[in-house]
């Protein structure tokens, strides 16, 4: 079998101390992104379970897969969930969702939950897009900017580079920092051209680590360019898969002269988490009117 270097780690988590049967509200957010999908289940105000998995060829299947993985070993069934909100690129195609909300709103809400009210700027580095978002202390979006036209600076771009260099994508960040001195960033914007450039650099004697450093730093530079158009206010957080790439994150920090506030339990679930919080709001509202 050939190794799929682009494959990042799929993960799932379940709270050991919440009994969902005692919960007043059980809601779920499903984020079907272009590359990854997440389901986040909330019981009252707490994250009860989540899963992060690869998006398949169609949105309903990906949503189902994410939901069933996150429900595994919980005893909870899909019908126990009182309100589901869908978000992400495939949000209009999530059959079990009662409502679809844009991922911009959801990322802000999810980042606000994980990072607290001090979070003002969110950079979402997704599989196929890049968003700079400003929000208020309640996680409401005040401004945003996005690039979804070009793979430069996105997770897909990083996957392509990992495949080319035959480096597992989860190791890219660490390896890129293991260089004697920081090389010049890759100069091509387009990922297709950056690939040829990378091959040329390897041919001229660069190590894989140096090429990765050059690519991570080009990516950081591109992202900072987008961020500067909306401005960066503290606290600053990064959501999406690239938030887990220390090579890109540390270079963004260096270029901005600003620390990124880490998000736990997982920066990649921000969209799904935000959707689950919106689901809870909607559920409470529907109970009030009922």
């Amino acid at each position: 079998m050939t190794t799929e270097f682009y494959r990042w780690t799929e993960n799932t988590w379940k709270s050991p101390d919440i009994d969902w049967r005692k919960g007043q509200t059980i809601t779920c957010g499903i984020d079907v992104g272009s590359v990854s999908s997440q389901a986040v289940i909330m019981v009252d105000d707490k994250i009860y379970a989540f899963c992060n998995t690869r998006t398949g060829s169609n949105s309903p299947d990906s949503a189902n897969k994410a939901l069933s993985i996150s429900l595994k070993d919980t005893g909870m069934k899909p019908e126990d969930i009182q309100f589901i909100v869908g978000t992400g690129y495939g949000r209009v195609n999530i059959p079990m969702a009662k409502k679809a909300i844009t991922e911009i709103a959801c990322h802000a809400r999810g980042a606000n939950y994980m990072g607290g009210p001090s979070v003002k700027t969110i950079l979402d580095m997704g599989g196929q897009d890049l968003k700079g978002i400003h929000c208020d202390e309640r996680g409401k979006v005040t401004q945003f900017l996005m690039n979804d036209k070009c793979a430069a600076g996105t997770g897909r771009g990083m996957e392509v580079m990992a495949e080319l260099l035959q480096v597992p994508i989860v190791d890219v960040g660490k390896m890129s920092l293991d260089v004697k001195e920081e090389p010049e960033p890759v100069s091509s914007t387009c990922v297709i051209f950056a690939k040829s450039e990378a091959i040329g650099l390897l041919r001229s004697g660069w190590t894989k680590n140096m090429v990765l450093a050059a690519y991570c730093s080009a990516m950081a530079h591109r992202v900072v360019g987008l961020l500067e158009r909306i401005g960066v206010e503290k606290e600053f957080v990064i959501t999406g898969g690239i938030a887990k790439n220390i090579g890109v994150v540390s270079r963004i920090e260096k270029e901005l002269g600003l620390k990124v506030k880490p998000l736990s339990p997982d920066p990649q679930i921000a969209g799904g988490l935000g959707a689950a919080i919106f689901a809870k709001d909607l559920l409470l509202k529907s109970r009030k009117t009922a």
């Binding site: 060829s57 169609n58 196929q128 793979a151 392509v160 387009c190 990922v191 297709i192 091959i199």
Partner: protein, 254 residues
């Protein structure tokens, strides 16, 4: 007088030798990682073909992305200037030139004497260049000639955004999964690149006649799609990939 033009393209290097205003040799090789050596080799091949010796060449002009890297050349000209000169020699009625190379596309407006009036170009993104076609042929698991052939048999439109070659590759894979006919996908791919190139070309005035040159001009499916998008007839000269090198050789004689 014998002169040579060398087009140092991103993907291929082309050489044209001109003797007394007539083309006497053409040769081409993949650029590879040693462009200077490839240029040397390609020039030697053309010299052999022309039946001349190196000393007979009075002047060598380079053009293309790597034009400044050739130590044995006398000087260099931009692709834009070379294209306008080359097409003026081959098809004098042409006033608008669209050049689609492996990694760059250009729109050039020129006058009756082959002088450049205006131009626009894209060298930042593969979505409007030959690299896009190649990456799509990989995604479709078809050779480029086969992809062109089946594209002409398409009967339906396939939905493809294709703003980015990397994203388009995933799009093509999911279209294949949903059992969309490969002919329709191939057609959509050609249409997408033509639409990208045309929106770039529209930044300059489009005056008839219009010619398509560069390696991609050999792709009949793209020529068809370009005609549709620009709404004009499109002329393709013989051996369109050599026009820049020809222009450089002609300018060397001027």
């Amino acid at each position: 007088m014998i002169t040579a033009g060398i087009d140092m393209g991103a993907k291929t290097i082309k050489v044209v030798i001109v003797k007394d205003n007539k083309i006497v040799a053409r040769s081409m090789n993949p650029t590879g990682f040693e462009p200077v050596q490839t240029a040397e080799k390609t020039l030697e091949e053309a010299i052999k073909q022309a039946g001349i010796s190196r000393g007979d060449i009075k002047k060598i002009l380079t053009t293309g992305a790597g034009r400044k890297s050739i130590p044995f050349a006398d000087n260099s000209v931009t692709e834009v200037t070379a294209d306008a000169k080359g097409i003026n020699y081959l098809l004098p009625s042409v006033r608008t030139i669209v050049d689609i190379g492996a990694e760059e596309a250009r729109g050039i407006s020129s006058d009756a004497s082959g002088r450049v009036l205006d131009f626009s170009k894209n060298d930042k993104c593969a979505a409007g260049a030959g690299a896009f076609v190649e990456s799509m042929s990989r995604a479709l698991e078809l050779t480029v000639p086969l992809m062109i052939e089946i594209s002409h048999k398409s009967t339906k439109d396939a939905p493809i955004n294709a703003t980015c070659a990397v994203f388009a590759e995933s799009e093509v894979v999911s279209l294949i999964h949903t059992k969309i006919d490969k002919a329709d996908i191939a057609h959509a791919v050609h249409d997408a690149i033509a639409s990208r190139v045309c929106s770039m070309v529209r930044r300059i005035p489009i005056e008839k006649d219009v010619a398509l040159i560069g390696g991609v001009a050999n792709n009949t499916a793209i020529v068809e799609a370009m005609k549709k998008h620009l709404g004009v007839e499109i002329k393709v000269p013989e051996k369109p990939e050599y026009v820049s090198a020809l222009g450089a050789a002609l300018l060397a004689a001027a």
